[in-house]
């Protein structure tokens, strides 16, 4: 697994009263080619028409980024293709494209960044804003109704760096209300710097959410344009280890212990017998926490050195069901399943160590069908984590 994780996320609020947005954010990860492309596009106007323009722009930019074509040329093609607005007789949409490429070890991350008419993207190293130095290209396209200036820059991203792309709904929030000229890029910049100083490791999701909420607040909670903000954040991956099931042979118990000890990150032990083995190996007391359970999920336990100790198959199958349904954490009752999901939602890479010993007690026909085969449940968990939550997962049998 990689030692670097690129956390890309965005938040968005549509213009008040609109059911569809004129800002479109597109993200695609292409791990086979070590490439991530993130695009933010803002279409002319708002509502359906703007959405068509912005989606068209974003998808074109997206497909062209994966082709070997030069980004400047791609920009020209996009602008030539956009349909003309019936009222304003112009074809127009803005876009920012961040084309991120990294090598196999992810030691060097190169961003090819191109921007047209969006508020300038913000680049942060830690909590410090770094001004742009890139070139400006005058497109001089035939049939242009205004001067078309592209901003282009290629630079390296390192651990702790952030690149934020905004739509004009953010910089113009509060315009004429709480602020005569709106929030403006300087105000956004200050807000982000302050947020980052308070919380240096804030995730892309939380940061963009904070910015969008602040902009909405400035607009008096009635957004007057689509407000969109996206963030690309490079950081060390947060890892979680999930140990479930006793090893096939007793001799492997020691190996299991060493693997748990050597793991750097959060640790979940799922399974009563497994918990007993780990407790014996580490010589740590296992204490069941009778305050945290529900009629469907047995209580969790506490053990020093392990983040969460839960029961096995019931908890895991419940976790898998909720992950597949994408149930929001705040909708869950306060039981071990909630704690479990909270931990894995907050990590980027999840590693499973699956013990292959057969549990004699589960062969009883009185036991409900939810208790399936461990391997099947782990398969469901991994699929849900990868498809619904875009986590990296891996597993080994013991």
């Amino acid at each position: 697994m990689n030692d670097i994780f690129i956390d890309v996320d965005y938040s968005q609020v549509y213009k008040h009263g609109q059911k569809i947005g004129g800002d479109v954010f597109l993200l695609s990860r292409n791990p086979d080619r070590n490439q991530i492309v993130a695009i933010l596009s803002d279409g002319l106007g708002s509502g359906v028409k703007a959405n068509v323009l912005a989606s068209l722009t974003a998808h074109m930019a997206h497909n062209l980024s994966f082709s070997p074509m030069d980004l400047t040329h791609s920009a020209k093609i996009i602008m030539d293709t956009l349909p003309v607005c019936k009222e304003r007789k112009i074809s127009y949409s803005t876009f920012s494209i961040a084309d991120i490429r990294y090598d196999n070890t992810a030691e060097k991350i190169i961003v090819n960044f191109l921007e047209y008419d969006n508020p300038p993207a913000l680049f942060f190293q830690g909590p410090k804003n770094i001004p742009w130095t890139g070139e400006t290209i005058d497109l001089q396209r035939k049939g242009a109704f205004k001067k078309e200036l592209l901003h282009r820059q290629t630079f390296n991203l390192e651990i702790g760096d952030r690149l934020l792309m905004l739509s004009d709904g953010v910089t113009q929030s509060g315009l004429g209300l709480s602020m005569p000229l709106g929030w403006r890029i300087g105000g956004v910049n200050k807000f982000i710097e302050r947020t980052l100083e308070n919380n240096t490791e804030i995730s892309s999701k939380s940061l963009t959410k904070a910015i969008v909420n602040k902009a909405l607040n400035l607009d008096g909670f009635t957004s007057r344009d689509d407000i969109t903000c996206s963030c690309i954040y490079v950081r060390k991956p947060r890892r979680t280890l999930i140990v479930t099931g006793p090893p096939f042979s007793k001799e492997s118990d020691v190996i299991l212990g060493e693997k748990i000890k050597a793991f750097n990150g959060k640790k979940i032990v799922s399974g009563g017998t497994t918990a007993l083995i780990v407790s014996r190996l580490f010589d740590k007391k296992l204490k069941v926490d009778l305050t945290c359970w529900s009629s469907e999920v047995p209580p969790a336990s506490n053990m020093e050195g392990i983040t969460l100790v839960t029961e096995g198959m019931l908890t895991l199958s419940k976790v898998a069901t909720h992950l597949e349904a994408k149930t929001p954490v705040y909708d869950l009752p306060n039981d071990p399943v909630k704690k479990f999901i909270e931990i894995i939602e907050n990590s980027d890479q999840v590693h499973f160590i699956v013990g292959t010993k057969i549990n004699e007690a589960h062969q009883d026909p009185n036991i409900p069908v939810e208790i399936g085969i461990r391997r099947t449940i782990i398969g469901r968990l991994r699929k849900a984590l990868e498809d619904n939550y875009l986590k990296e997962t891996s597993q080994e049998y013991l």
């Binding site: 359970w293 047995p298 029961e311």
Partner: protein, 89 residues
């Protein structure tokens, strides 16, 4: 008068016990005689490892299991627990 030490009651919350009645036993606060609650200390246990040796002929060797003062009891339910704990004191 010297306060008497409480006897330990361990309720198994392993999968097999939990689904076969152990979940109800965790509501001991609701169904046990209030006098008994003061005399015992209740604790969960991730697995008493008794479920691995279930003997089909013997009803008493079936889950859910509870350990009272070091002694294992199978096929537990609320009435039986009430009775066993009363016998214990």
């Amino acid at each position: 008068m010297k306060k008497r030490d409480k006897l330990l009651v361990k309720i198994c919350v392993g999968t097999s016990c939990f689904v076969q009645g152990g979940a109800d036993l965790l509501l001991y606060n609701d169904f046990l005689n209030p006098e008994l609650l003061d005399r015992f200390e209740f604790e969960g246990c991730s697995c008493l490892e008794a479920c691995k040796a279930v003997n089909d002929a013997d009803v008493e060797s079936k889950p859910p299991f509870v350990m009272i003062n070091g002694k294992l009891h199978g096929n537990m339910n609320s009435d039986k627990l009430n009775k066993l704990l009363s016998d214990e004191i």
